[in-house]
Symmetry: C2
């Protein structure tokens, strides 16, 4: 089973072109990452080891979620991007992001995570650029997310605006 | 084709129970709406006339969107709720809302609209309560939306909080 197997699933007509474009993005990232022995690769293959994903989420202190529900969430995400550190024949999951969508107008990005050992090298931005690239390629015009206060600046640097035109992100809480 | 045909599609084991529960919600709304000759009904059947939906969106001044893309968006929404004014054998679409989701954790509500002739009677709240009810029934714990400034109070009355714990809603704009 190839690593890039499902990279552009559902768009068979130009898989090879897009695959090579995607690879070249990865190469440029690899070149720009200091102190990184090996390669940084991206994939949109969602056939990943969910225990490895859990380990990644543990590394940034996220609460554990049932693997069964994580599997459903990934299946029903419109875009999934994983980031890998590859060294020789060994590869390790070091980043993840996904987006839900109506496949037409809106997409919302969830679960953006980069392993602490690989933070501070611009990899989170490259991960998000891959998400944006894939969503724009599918003609999604409205990309949104909900950002914790301490990462608002990070997303602003990528072109996201907080509360544009007074629009407020809101969450529902069950009546207590 | 019955009006309530797809009301609880995908959950065949207890359709009749849930259908009657849903109907009784509609009845209670009908009773509480002043100056409304006829009945107010809700449905989660997404097999609706998209030109009638366009007319509804026109009535509140929304920009027109390609019908082809609206169809895709509705197909790929997790929950769709329509609100109807029924009088004799005539029924008219007077409200709409939908939510995208990963079917596990998160849902985001989009395109909430009530026809101006039926605003100010509590029907928008009932429409949103139907959306929340359906999402909670599917065990979605995280319900979010992006609210224009002038409807933030409306959503607060339904239990939505703006920027909870400093979380910011953000939108991406293409570089100009």
């Amino acid at each position: 089973m190839g690593f890039w197997k499902n990279l552009f699933s559902g768009n068979d007509s130009s898989v090879s072109d897009q695959r090579s474009k995607f690879r070249s993005v990865s190469n440029s990232i690899h070149n720009s990452v200091p102190n990184c022995d090996g390669e940084i690769l991206f994939s949109s293959d969602r056939d990943l080891d969910l225990y490895e994903l859990e380990e990644l989420c543990d590394s940034v202190g996220w609460s554990r979620r049932p693997i069964r529900k994580v599997r459903i969430a990934i299946e029903h995400s419109f875009v999934v991007v994983t980031m890998w550190h590859k060294k020789g024949s060994f590869k390790r999951l070091i980043g993840f992001a996904r987006a839900t969508s109506d496949h037409a107008f809106n997409a919302t990005v969830w679960d953006v995570v980069v392993h602490p050992e690989f933070q501070g090298r611009g990899l989170g931005k490259e991960l998000m650029r891959e998400v944006i690239y894939l969503l724009r390629k599918e003609d999604i015009s409205n990309i949104s997310l909900f950002a914790d206060g301490h990462v608002v600046t990070f997303y602003q640097q990528l072109g996201f605006s907080p509360d544009p035109e007074g629009i407020k992100g809101m969450f529902w809480y069950p009546p207590s």
